[in-house]
Amino acid sequence: MLTFVIRRVFQSALVLLIVGLVAFSMFRFVGDPIDNMLGQERTDADIARLRTDLGLDQPFPVQYVKFLKGAAEGNFGVSYRQGRPVSTILVERAPATLELAAVSGFFAITIGIGLGVFTAIRRDGFMANMIMSVSLIGVSLPTFLIGILLIYLFAVELGWLPSFGRGDVVNIGWWSTGFLTASGLKALILPSITLGLYQMTLIMRLVRSEMLEVLRQDYIRFARARGLKERSVNFRHALKNTLVPVITVTGLQLGSIIAFAIITETVFQWPGVGLLFINAIQFVDIPVMAAYLMLISVMFVGINLIVDLLYFAIDPRLRVDQKGAK
């Protein structure tokens, strides 16, 4: 067990290092940060001086090693755009993204499972077919378009919900939350629907097909024959057995909700890390881009590691093989 864990941790660390290296080799293709940092009156001497000061004249592996050294000490450098430490900015921005991800994750799971069960049970019903057709639109429309459509309908035409921002936030320590104010809760609705819609449709379709599979099985037929209530058959016996693959997929999707909040955050001017990253790309803010990319890869690597460890715990064959190999 321990060897397996250690090996996996080492592999994860290696993946992280490679992601960082690739990221740093790409930065020079994004553009030249110096141009954004100095005004239009700058001279060539200013450019050269700032380039040397920032170490941008060095080859990218050297810059990368410098970044890693700093990161190991918890120092991600200073944002070129805001002139403030990147770690401060990330801590400031993380709550917005995490709250958005949590709400849209919750939305995707509850509505997704609910609709999935419904469409499976009433597979030939009019409503179920409607939901299935509409969900196709949900999957095929790009996120920004859904966001804009929702803004147009609920903010511009109906005037019910705000079109941008987080509303009023309450600070609890360093964490700023939008859960405690009416405007904060209202502001969460449209972005979480936009962000969670794709995941919701995915979960719904997954639950539906799993349910259809399970409902055909003998034990469901016997349960029905025993005269159990329809409700109890559907939820206690059928749904429970469909959840294993659903949980796996949901876990992996959670990472992508956080990572791909970028577009939703841009459309709704949501002050999270995704918007920060977009701004960083436009400005060629290398310290912010580097820290964000490392953070996201740490998250994905972490999730994968946990999933691997869970498989190890669940699947006895893995353990036997390891022992045998030893």
């Binding site: 994004v30 141009d35 954004n36 005004g39 009156e41 200073v78 403030r84 147009y152 903010a155 941008f164």
Partner: protein
């Protein structure tokens, strides 16, 4: 000053029916200020925010005219042409209550001249700043500088004591890894006091009750809430749904939508920015074309032909939906040295252009790559696309290469492009600024944005002489002579002057400032 008295009278008139009540203005634009440190970034949104909280010695009002701010009088000294004298406004206090005097001016200007300052180029001619009395200041330059005051309109004043107490004497630097206090806090003399600020999210300001200009300006807006909204569609939606009262950049395609909505209005004015193409006109062969041994654009006839092939009216109508003014010179209309004859000199003449091409020996045309930004100017890439088709009519085959600004501008600075788009604004409102950066031979101090490889030592000498020519009439003649050369040589292909569109709810009343800087103390509310 008569200006002052009329303003006073109008302000008094307008102030009467409007008693002190909270009038919040919710303001949105695409970008946020990068910092509150007034000398760290010389950039539009950054100085626009600073203008609400801090003040320079002299400033531009909403029409672009130079008006007194923290200095009441200024001018070159009678005894020494190298010295400018400023009389400071008395009885002004900073937001924290500290008194404003000449020590603060000297401190601020010295700070703006340090290496990390983004404003040091504008003060490059300054030799020394001297506080000669509590309310008098002298700026000595290396040689006479006739437009010294023009360079100071965005040069904000800080309190010396405050900066020293908070470790903000140095302009923010990127290497230290530390937060600088001045990047997040501000203590100015301006009409609005900073209440709170979250970068990229929200900035709140409230009226400064002790402002020196209280009776002089309308100051009807008592609270400003500034939220950057990057996505153009969201910004317009926020305006349409009434969540913001004032947006500075209405996308061209949404102008009709906003203007057609009840309770909303779009106001338009020419902007201090001209868009043009630059061409490599060095004699040596260039790599970007398909002609060997010669650079076709080194021939002035080819440059003229290319300019004549561009149909500026079509670009204005189709690409800009009417939101531009065709240009004939690369200076915006309010700049000293601009003249109507030159600005309307561009005309479309495809046959004439073909004849010129044939005369220059390029009857069959040539091919060239056009480098174009795609996120910097209004519809920049679309303008380039339209131009590709127009240049094809005279046999010039253009390969369009559109990139984000962070990749585009280094091409110009590193002389890696032979044909490129550039836009230029003139913060000093004087042609010298244009010549210094775009016309003078590229070198250490001058010509840093001149990607044309054009070099004329006589012209360079004339441009350098402008800096110290104090006889304004003579200076204007020199400016005109330089423009004549620029026009004859077809140094650049001017396209158009950008137009500013401000969207506002009908409760807000303002004129549109050509420098795209809203100064809320001038705003009135209905």
């Amino acid at each position: 000053m008569t200006f002052k008295s009329t303003l006073l009278a109008t302000a008094a008139l307008m102030a009467m029916p409007m008693m002190a009540q909270a009038e919040t203005l919710r303001w949105a634009r695409a970008g946020d200020a990068l910092t509150l440190d007034p000398h760290a970034q010389n950039e539009g949104p950054t100085s626009a925010l600073a203008h609400q909280i801090m003040e320079p010695l002299v400033m531009r009002d909403m029409t672009g005219a130079m008006v007194p701010a923290l200095a009441t009088e200024w001018g070159p000294s009678a005894d020494n042409p190298n010295v400018w004298e400023f009389t400071l406004r008395e009885g002004v206090t900073f937001h924290d209550g500290a008194e404003f005097d000449s020590e603060d001016v000297k401190f601020s200007l010295d700070r703006a001249m340090t290496e990390d300052s983004d404003y040091k180029e504008l003060l490059a001619s300054v030799k020394e700043v001297r506080a000669t009395g509590k309310y008098t200041i002298e700026i000595e330059t290396n040689g006479p500088n006739p437009i010294m005051a023009n360079n100071l309109t965005n040069m904000f004043m800080m309190d010396k004591g405050w900066a020293e107490a908070n470790g903000a004497v140095k302009v923010q630097d990127y290497e230290g890894g530390e937060d600088t206090f001045a990047a997040k806090n501000a203590n100015g003399t301006g009409p609005y006091v900073l209440v709170s600020r979250e970068p990229d999210v929200k900035t709140v300001m409230k009226i400064n009750d002790n402002y020196w200009g209280k009776g002089e300006f309308p100051m009807e807006v008592t609270e400003v809430i500034y939220t950057p909204i990057q996505n153009a569609a969201t910004r317009v939606a926020a305006m349409l749904s009434g969540e913001v009262d004032f947006i500075q950049d209405v996308p061209v395609q949404d102008l009709g939508r906003v203007a057609g909505t009840d309770g909303l209005e779009v106001r338009t004015a020419p902007q201090n920015r001209v868009i043009f193409f630059g061409m490599n006109q060095a004699a040596e062969d260039i790599a970007g074309d398909n002609v060997d041994g010669v650079n076709p654009m080194s021939d002035v006839r080819v440059r003229q032909a290319m300019s004549m092939a561009i149909d500026r009216v079509a670009i204005q109508k189709v690409v800009m939906r009417g939101q531009s003014a065709p240009a004939g010179m690369i200076a915006p209309p309010f700049v000293n040295g601009w003249n109507e004859a030159m600005d309307s000199s561009s005309k479309t003449d495809v046959e004439g252009a073909k004849a010129l091409m044939a005369e220059a020996g390029f009857a069959d045309g040539f091919s060239i790559t056009l480098n174009c930004p795609n996120d910097r100017y209004i519809n920049d890439e679309a303008i380039c696309q339209a131009s590709v088709g127009m240049l094809a009519r005279i046999g010039v085959t253009v390969n369009l290469d559109a990139k984000p600004k962070a990749q585009h501008f280094p091409l110009i600075n590193n002389l890696e492009t032979d044909f490129y788009m550039l836009g230029w604004g003139v913060p000093t409102y004087d042609s010298e600024y244009v010549f210094n950066f775009l016309t003078h031979t590229k070198g250490e101090k001058y010509g840093s944005w001149n990607g044309t490889r054009f070099s004329d030592t006589d012209l360079d000498a004339k441009i350098e002489a402008l800096a110290s020519e104090t006889d304004l009439e003579k200076r204007n003649m020199m400016i005109n002579e330089i423009w004549t050369v620029v026009q004859e040589e077809q140094l650049y292909i001017p396209i158009h002057h950008q137009v500013l569109n401000w969207g506002m709810s009908s409760k807000v009343d303002t004129i549109v400032a050509p420098d795209d800087t809203a100064k809320f103390k001038y705003f009135t509310l209905n």
